[in-house]
């Protein structure tokens, strides 16, 4: 079954409190090379059958309306992944 992967990230100008907490925790484990972390979301939409242009367009629309909130997030990637 092919899947459509949607990646959503907090907008660059918005402070990501979770990313900030993670970057604070990394040095405690000895990971000292990372100056910044931003945490996003990955969605996998499974399609029964072939991914047509219409289905991909639906995924893009779903990404903009439900999967992300355009006030605080950007959809940074929508791509088809064959199983």
């Amino acid at each position: 079954m092919p899947r459509i992967v949607v990646d959503v990230m907090p907008k660059p100008e918005i402070l990501d409190p979770q990313g900030k907490a993670i970057v604070g925790a990394l040095p405690r484990l000895g990971f000292t090379s990372f100056s910044s972390v931003r945490q996003g979301k990955r969605f996998e939409l499974t399609v029964d059958g072939e991914v047509t242009d219409a289905i991909l367009a639906q995924a893009r629309e779903a990404a903009e309306t439900l999967l992300s909130n355009p006030v605080i997030e950007d959809v940074v990637n929508v791509e088809v992944v064959e199983a």
Partner: protein, 257 residues
Amino acid sequence: MTELPLIGEAIAVAAEPRLAGARIGVVTFPGTLDDRDAARAVRLAGGTPVPLWHADNALGDVDAVVIPGGFSYGDYLRAGAIARFAPLMSKIIDAANSDARLPVLGICNGFQILTESHLLPGSMIKNDHLKFMCRDQVLRVENNSTDWTLDYEAGQEITVPLKNQDGQYIADEKTLDALEAEGRVVFRYVGFNPNGSRRDIAGISNAAGNVVGLMPHPEHAVEVGYGPESLDGIGGSDTDGLAFFTSVLNKIVGANK
């Protein structure tokens, strides 16, 4: 020593019989927590609460709607994001934007649902300190001309409980400037900003003033002895939230000051 009223003894504070005809819908989603408190607040203020279910396709005969706090759909995806697409929400959005301008109050998760619905601008993200916070919070009423704040004095400071994890109000600078210029910042945190909200904003309204959202919980400060504690243990600030509900009830029956 002043005696506190016993549980169940509380009666509507100066509730007027003519307000009882005003019907306030209180919406319940899966995961809503504060619907009963909101209904009780409506009743204590003198109105008639009407339970509404998220999956209903009709609003029925209500004069206003409260979207209470809680964790609708477990806050999955984003707080309020899934509730926003419930069948009843589209009816509420239409009624709020109609010429009738249905009064709508969103409290905490209800505020998050209103921003996800685009009835109010901006959004809430995690508190800047990342912790759930529960405290009695002082707010200043910056605008007493909305449907839900008519019975407050402009600039009045009130104390109501605050309890949330995703309470940091954010919007871009242009939106914030517009909110300030149009008097749509309805409540501001006083003395302490509990979550990093831009410009200490605790609550906002739409342009018409019928839709109001805020993170703190006025419905938990409506009954003597059970709201935020005052120094003498009675009176004081523990009913500071009641005027939200008397405001809209008086507006509905046409009796505001």
